[in-house]
Each structure stands twice: as structure tokens, then as C-alpha cells.
Amino acid sequence: MRGGNKLENTYIIDLKSITKEYDGTKVLDNISFYVRKNEFITLLGPSGCGKTTTLRIIGGFEQPTEGRVIFEGKDITNLPPYKRQINTVFQKYALFPHMNVFENIAFGLNIKKVPKDEIKKRVKEMLKLVNLDGYENRSIQSLSGGQQQRVAIARALVNEPKVLLLDEPLGALDLKLRKEMQTELKSMQQRVGITFIYVTHDQEEALTMSDTIVVMDKGVIQQIGTPVDIYNEPKNSFVAKFIGESNIVEGIMREDFIVEFAGRVFKCIDKGFQKNEEIEVVIRPEDIIITKPEEGQLKGIITSVIFKGVHYEMICNDGQFDWKIHSTSMKPVGTEVGMSVEPENIHVMKKAIKK
């Protein structure tokens, strides 16, 4: 499923056929993926897709109904959370309200009976890392959402876990702060060199931060890959729709590198399908080039234009399908235009099996 080095000893976590049922309903169905050391991996999917459950199984808060969790080659499926070298940043931070910032961060070290001097030193370093120098004695209630977020990260990182689990940690922050924290988290991860397993439903967040994205829906893994792979080569229409905007049309694969859709034959770079297999084609709105009507592969009329800041979003109807186009040059409504797509921007996917 993923390219690159497949030597098992570079895996820090390996999920093997995890299935989880609650009262007979399957929330996770045969989930298998591995996580490499120092990787930033994101579990991405809509709410209820099972991403948080997967994270909780790795953290030890839930037991899988079937399957095994392997951590550095050892089976930890039945190990309680406090015995795992894994720490979690919880969705709503879960900071202890009866302790101040210092006590919160020092919690894990106190449990491990680390000498007081060292605790002081390490907490101070952590506060520096998360830009909260001098906040030791502040109460949790007096902190803003973003600051609480940082304390939660510091509280987890100070224990020097091998893996850090983050459950939608930026969900409660406003857009601007969220963007800042995204870059900050990413650079923090690179600095401390810890494996991050990140859960989010925000595709943009996933694309920005991750080395690898695991797209999930209805308890099943839809695709695993790098952000570029996932964006450019979505495996099915769910992934295509969930990650970014896209035009998805039905078509027929005539032969390798030749696909037919929208009543025309196109060159493409996909192969390995059966002859005349029914497929779906994904074309990103920014990959459609507007040309003069007679020069395009397709012809249509602009039916709507929306200004989106960096680009215009235009809808172009070719008589049977509304194509979504992103372009920096605007064509007014009613204009007849041509549309063409480069072969490498035509993405052919297997047709989703209708349930």
C-alpha cells in the first residue's frame, strides 16, 4: 500500500487487522497500517469514521475486538495505557483543573519519581519549547484556548514518549490560531523527533502537516499515502470528494492510457484496467485550462462565477455536466469557452462498488 522501505524494524507501530465492535456494530473493520519512526501520520476522515477509536486503541483506552497492536515489535494489545510509552494530547486538552501549569506538566514525571531538580529543569525546557516561558504558576482557568493547548502538548512531550497521539488538538481554536499552531506543531515534531499520530477531519490540516495520510470512512481505510499522492491520485470518489474539490465523472477505460468520458476520448497516464472497464475520472478544478471554444477538448458555457480571493470559481456546462473550474482569469457568465486537461491531470479511479 505504501512505497519505500518495508523493513519491519523501522516500524514503531504496526496495526494488524484491527476490528472493533460496540454492541454488535462494527466501528472499525480490518484496519491495518504501520507507522514509521519519526513520521507525522494523520488519520483523516469525517466524524464517525473510526479515526478516534483507532487512536484510542493505540493509546490503550480501548481494546480491539480482533487484531493486534504491535509496538516496536512487541504485542501491546492488552497493555494498560499507563504502561505504554505513548502519550496523548486530548481533544479538549483534559488538563487537571486543580493543578497549575507547572503541576500539570510535571504530572507524568512525578509519577515516575523523577528527582525534583530534574523535573524543574525539564518542565522549564518544555515551557520554552511551547512558548510559555514564565507561566509555571498560572492556573489552568486563566489560560486561553491556545495556551491550554500548548500546556497539553508540553504535558505529553515532557515524558519523552516514543509516540505522541493527538486527537483533533486544534479543533477548538479559531482559524488564525489554528494555522499558526499547525506550523508550530509540525516544526516541533521535527525538532523533538517524535512520531506523531494525528487525528483530524480537516483535510487542509492533514495536507499541510502530514508525511503520511490515512483516509478513513465508515471504519474502513480508504487510502494511505503521502499528501501529494492522496490529492493527486485519489483511489476512489470518497477520497477525491473528501480531499479538496473535484469534478468526478463516469467514464470507460478503452485501453491503457486511453479513457473516454464526456463523450470524448482523452489521453491519460493510467493503465492496468480491463478493456472497456467502467471507471470514474477525477479532475481537479484548477487543472482545467480555459481556452478559446474551438481549441478546447470540451466546449461549454459559463453559468456561474464566484470570486474566491486567490482565484475565481466558475461553473461551465458542456451540455451534460457542470464542470467546476478554478482560474485566476475570469470569464463572464454566458461566455462560450473551451476546456482542456493535460493527460497527467486526468485521474482514473476504480468505480465505487454501490452498496
Binding site: F90, L95, F96, P97
Partner: protein, 275 residues
């Protein structure tokens, strides 16, 4: 605030039924009519310093403290167990604790008379086993038992409701940071349930220190707690001045107890109430 007008009836209620009676009690406590006419005096309060009376006070406080401690020891695990149950089971368990309180307080206490009496069920079993019947009634133990029985729900319910509100993710966070079940309890659950403990202590200690019904029924006619002393002064001796003085002294003790408990309670929660 236009809504203020709606509070007037309550203000009136407070004044007529709380402020005025309190002032009257205070007035009675510091006056005497012995030589005809109303005179101010501290004699009523001083009379209480008699060792006999101080002994009654001591026994009352001791029993109330014992009751509070035992209900806390029994009540905390009960509250915690209920709070950890599934919601459906939880409601049934809370209901089971509340249902006895729908029954009259006196009746519930009378029930113990028949259980513990010379020919009661307990002694029946004891004699069946071949032992001499026990003197279970009319002693400290019987009074203590009656108090614990009556006041336990007042300890369980506030503790339960505080623990029930503790966010489960805090427990998980502690486990995640390496705390085992015992450490989770001592470092997270217990400190976060202090407000419930303090409410429970107040709600048990106050009625326990001033009860006179339980001690009368289960302790027998001679059994004297401060509540009985006050009752006696008002109803049998007819010395309202001394009775009021004792009431004031008891109130002072309760206020001190409340002040101590709310000191703990206030620690980080911001202010809650009087102190």
C-alpha cells in the same frame, strides 16, 4: 433591574421567618426576666460553662464527628461506585438511596427500635445461635447507628454528583501519563471531589450535632445531647433564656465547622458562599 420586584415576597418571607426569630433567640439569650422586667445579662451564656453542660456539648460534638467520619468512609466508595455505573443502573441506585428519605424520619428511626429491641429481630437471631440477648438499645452505639443510617444519603449524594461530573478524559489523561488506578484516585479523583466531600460533611455534621429525636428514641430518656438539652429547656423546664443561649452557642459551633469546611472547598474553585 425590573425583576427585582419579584424578590420582595421572598425578602418578606426571609425577614418574618428567619431574621426576626433569630433576633428573638439572640435577645432571649442575653436577657433575663428574673427580677421582673427585661434585663440584659451574660448569665445565661455563663451558665453553660458548668461541667455538666460542657460534657453534653462534648458528647454531641464527638458523636457528630464520629457520624461524619463514618458516613464519609462509607459514603465515599458508595458515591464513587454509583458514579462509575452506566447511567441506567446509576439512576436506580440513586433512587434506592433516596426512597427511604421519602418516609418519615421518625418512622425510620422507630423501625430501629423494633430491630434492636430486647425482643427484636437481631436479638432473636442472636438467641437462635445460642447466645445471651444483647443490650443493643439506649447506648452510644445505638444513637451513632441511628445517625449514620439517617444521614448517610446526605454524604453519598453530593459526593456522587461531584464524581459523576469529573470528565472521564481527566482520568484517561492521568492513566496516559503513567498513573495506575491508585495514583489516578489519589492525584485526580480525590482532589477533584473535595467540594462534594465538604458539602457532604456540612450536610451531615449540622443535623447530627443538633439532633434530639434520634438520641431520644435510640438513646433512651436519660440520653442527653445538646439538642435534647435545648428541647428540655424550652419544653419542660420553660427557661427560654437559657435554651436560647445554648442555641446560640450551638450555632456558633456550626458556623465554625462550616467556615473550616468551606476553607478547603474554596481552595481553587473561586468563592462559593459565605466565607
Amino acid at each position: 433591574m425590573k425583576m427585582k420586584i419579584f424578590s420582595y415576597p421572598y425578602m418578606l418571607w426571609l425577614v418574618i421567618f428567619i431574621v426576626v426569630p433569630l433576633l428573638l433567640v439572640f435577645l432571649y439569650a442575653v436577657t433575663t426576666t428574673e427580677n421582673g422586667g427585661l434585663q440584659f445579662t451574660v448569665e445565661n451564656l455563663r451558665r453553660f460553662l458548668d461541667p455538666n453542660y460542657l460534657d453534653v456539648l462534648w458528647v454531641s460534638i464527638k458523636l457528630a464527628l464520629q457520624t461524619t467520619i463514618i458516613t464519609l468512609i462509607l459514603g465515599y466508595p458508595i458515591g464513587m461506585i454509583i458514579a462509575r455505573e452506566k447511567p441506567s443502573k446509576r439512576n436506580i441506585m440513586v433512587l434506592l438511596f433516596v426512597i427511604p428519605m421519602w418516609m418519615n424520619f421518625l418512622l425510620r428511626t422507630y423501625a430501629w427500635l423494633t430491630l434492636l429491641g430486647k425482643n427484636g429481630i437481631v436479638n432473636y437471631i442472636v438467641t437462635l445461635l445460642g447466645f445471651e440477648p444483647l443490650d443493643l438499645l439506649y447506648n452510644d452505639g445505638a444513637v451513632l447507628l441511628g445517625m449514620i443510617y439517617n444521614f448517610l444519603p446526605f454524604m453519598v449524594l453530593p459526593i456522587y454528583s461531584v464524581i459523576e461530573k469529573i470528565d472521564n478524559s481527566l482520568i484517561e489523561a492521568a492513566e496516559d501519563l503513567g498513573a495506575n488506578k491508585f495514583e489516578v484516585f489519589t492525584k485526580v479523583t480525590l482532589p477533584l471531589s473535595i467540594p462534594g466531600i465538604m458539602t457532604g460533611i456540612t450536610m451531615v455534621f449540622m443535623p447530627a450535632v443538633s439532633t434530639f429525636v434520634i438520641s431520644r428514641l435510640l438513646g433512651g430518656g436519660q440520653y442527653m445531647l445538646i439538642g435534647n438539652l435545648i428541647e428540655q429547656q424550652f419544653l419542660w423546664v420553660g427557661d427560654w433564656h437559657f435554651g436560647s443561649a445554648i442555641s446560640i452557642i450551638m450555632m456558633i459551633f456550626i458556623l465554625i465547622a462550616m467556615a473550616i469546611t468551606s476553607k478547603f472547598d474554596d481552595q481553587k474553585e473561586g468563592s462559593s458562599g459565605l466565607w
